[in-house]
């Protein structure tokens, strides 16, 4: 990619994109734009359509209907140009297992007509962490190291837009935090990042997010705005017997939903329906001790659950 060229402000444009596999509607009418040098998160569970969306935007499969463009290039007409300018890290890290760390990076550089030396600055911070193992075959690396190598390989041709499909799935919380630190640095260098994740706590690390379920976007906004649009009253409840507390909360008809959330139970109530005091009274009648109920700020996970249609 030539850094001096004038890139449009919209890095990814996606309009009315739908895709089905036989009877299964994988994506229904997806619309969104990603701004230049933005980290945009696609957040949702397995099977929601995240990978299908990534494959359409990286020109690997065709949408049934709708249009999409990367850096202003159409996914249909200009697919060759798009493939030159995007970096794609698929869910299962498509590394060559029988090539060494070094050989993998060199291979990806060569495919894109460049060299490791030419763009080393961009991958340096990430690559130095795996460089001590550069003679090791990729198949023999741990999950965390594969992830770093795959990111290096996706970056070595200096893409303008980076597509990361579940880069942190199955990765421990410490490594996940480090990985997001790397993404922030890449954004500072002007790279646009579309990243998908099933971990709701990663949403707050994105500039904007789309919550996706069953092939549909439930919401697109900044994490802060999504949280501020939470409609219900939200409380965190605790008592000496958390299992029974969950059962009793579900028996109360004025309680809309109740789910375990770390060390407390999050309870949603329709605005103006129930008061903390009356719920406390009900729980005391049920025999609970040391009851604590407090109003709390929702997390993205609370928002997802409120918007979610899955009730199994």
């Amino acid at each position: 990619m030539n850094t001096s060229e004038n890139l449009p402000d919209i890095a990814i444009h996606c309009e009315s994109v739908s895709k089905n596999y036989g009877k299964i509607q994988a994506l229904s009418n997806i619309n969104f734009d990603v701004n230049r040098a933005e980290i945009f998160g696609i957040i949702g569970p397995d099977g929601a359509g995240k990978t299908t969306l990534f494959r359409i935007l990286t020109t690997l499969i065709l949408a049934e209907s709708g249009t999409a463009a990367i850096d202003g290039f159409d996914v249909l007409k200009d697919y060759k140009e798009i493939r030159k300018r995007v970096g794609y890290m698929p869910g299962r890290f498509s590394l060559y297992q029988d090539l060494t760390v070094e050989e993998n990076l060199e291979f990806f550089a060569t495919v894109f007509n460049t060299t490791i030396e030419e763009n080393y600055e961009l991958v340096k911070d990430i690559y130095v962490q795996i460089e001590p193992f550069k003679k090791r075959r990729a198949g023999k690396l741990s999950g965390g190291m594969k992830q770093k190598l795959a990111l290096s390989c996706a970056l070595i041709h200096k893409p303008s837009v980076l597509f990361l499909d579940e880069p942190t799935t199955g990765v421990d919380p410490v490594s996940r935090k480090e990985f997001w630190g790397m993404l922030q640095k890449l954004r500072e260098q002007g790279i646009t990042i579309l990243v998908s994740t099933p971990y709701m706590d990663e949403a707050s690390l994105c500039d904007r997010i789309a919550l996706i379920q069953n092939g549909q976007f439930l919401k697109i906004d900044t994490p802060e705005n999504i949280v501020s649009q939470f409609d219900d009253v939200l409380w965190a409840a605790k008592s000496d017997n958390m299992h029974k507390l969950l059962e009793d909360l579900r028996k109360d008809e004025q309680v809309k939903s109740s789910f375990a959330f770390g060390d407390s139970i999050h309870v949603t109530v329709d605005n103006g329906q129930l008061t903390v005091d009356s719920l406390k009274k009900y729980l005391i009648e049920k025999g609970h001790k040391n009851i604590k109920i407090e109003a709390i700020e929702p997390t993205i996970e609370d928002c997802f659950m409120e918007l979610s249609t899955t009730q199994i």
Partner: protein, 250 residues
Amino acid sequence: MRRAMETVIKVENLTKRFGNFTAVDNISFEVKRGEIFGFLGANGAGKTTAMRMLCGLSIPTEGKGTVAGYDIFKQPELIKKSIGYMSQKFSMYEDLKVWENLELFGGIYGMNDKVIKQKTDELMIKLNFEDERDKLVKSLPLGFKQKLAFSVSIFHQPQVVFLDEPTGGVDPITRRRFWEMIYDATAQGITVFVTTHYMDEAEYCDRVSIMVDGRIEALDSPDNLKKQFNAKNMDEVFQQLARKAKRVDS
């Protein structure tokens, strides 16, 4: 707290070396019947190696231990019969129907046909799965598969079930419903040994151990661990411990 305090898993100074690499370094702990024991650690900390030894799949280099009353050195085959196992990959036969999977796994564990049939009927009602009974597993939504995989893993009423990141990738509501099934299982006296990367789930365990570089660096109830590390949640506890790791994640 649960009444019975019988020990189901007991290991002392358990160690596993591969060449000169010590994957699991002298770990000791006990798990009581009906307990939910969370087994946490960063990638490469040694969790999988430790779990393989507990499941009778790998013989330790040193130490001693029993699972479900059987010796992990001498009686691995008896251990395998007494435990259940479920991983994130679910490992059910996708091209078999729901009831066929239950019959197959029940048969492997030596249950007789009559018991299998009766327990299948009960399970279909309990899970509200009667319409899915004759469907191929591959046609089920992820949340259904996960419920079924867990039900298969405890179908033979094992003493302890090992759950290896059972909730990866599922939506937040399904994830919580799954934990409600775990509580149900413990109410039947099944002991649950679970690994997870979701730190909120660490809070749902009775006790949690955190492995760093092959050793257990902390082991207590979530409340006590938070006090001990002066942390507001389990994620902070985990971050404090796992950042001390010296072993290169390899």
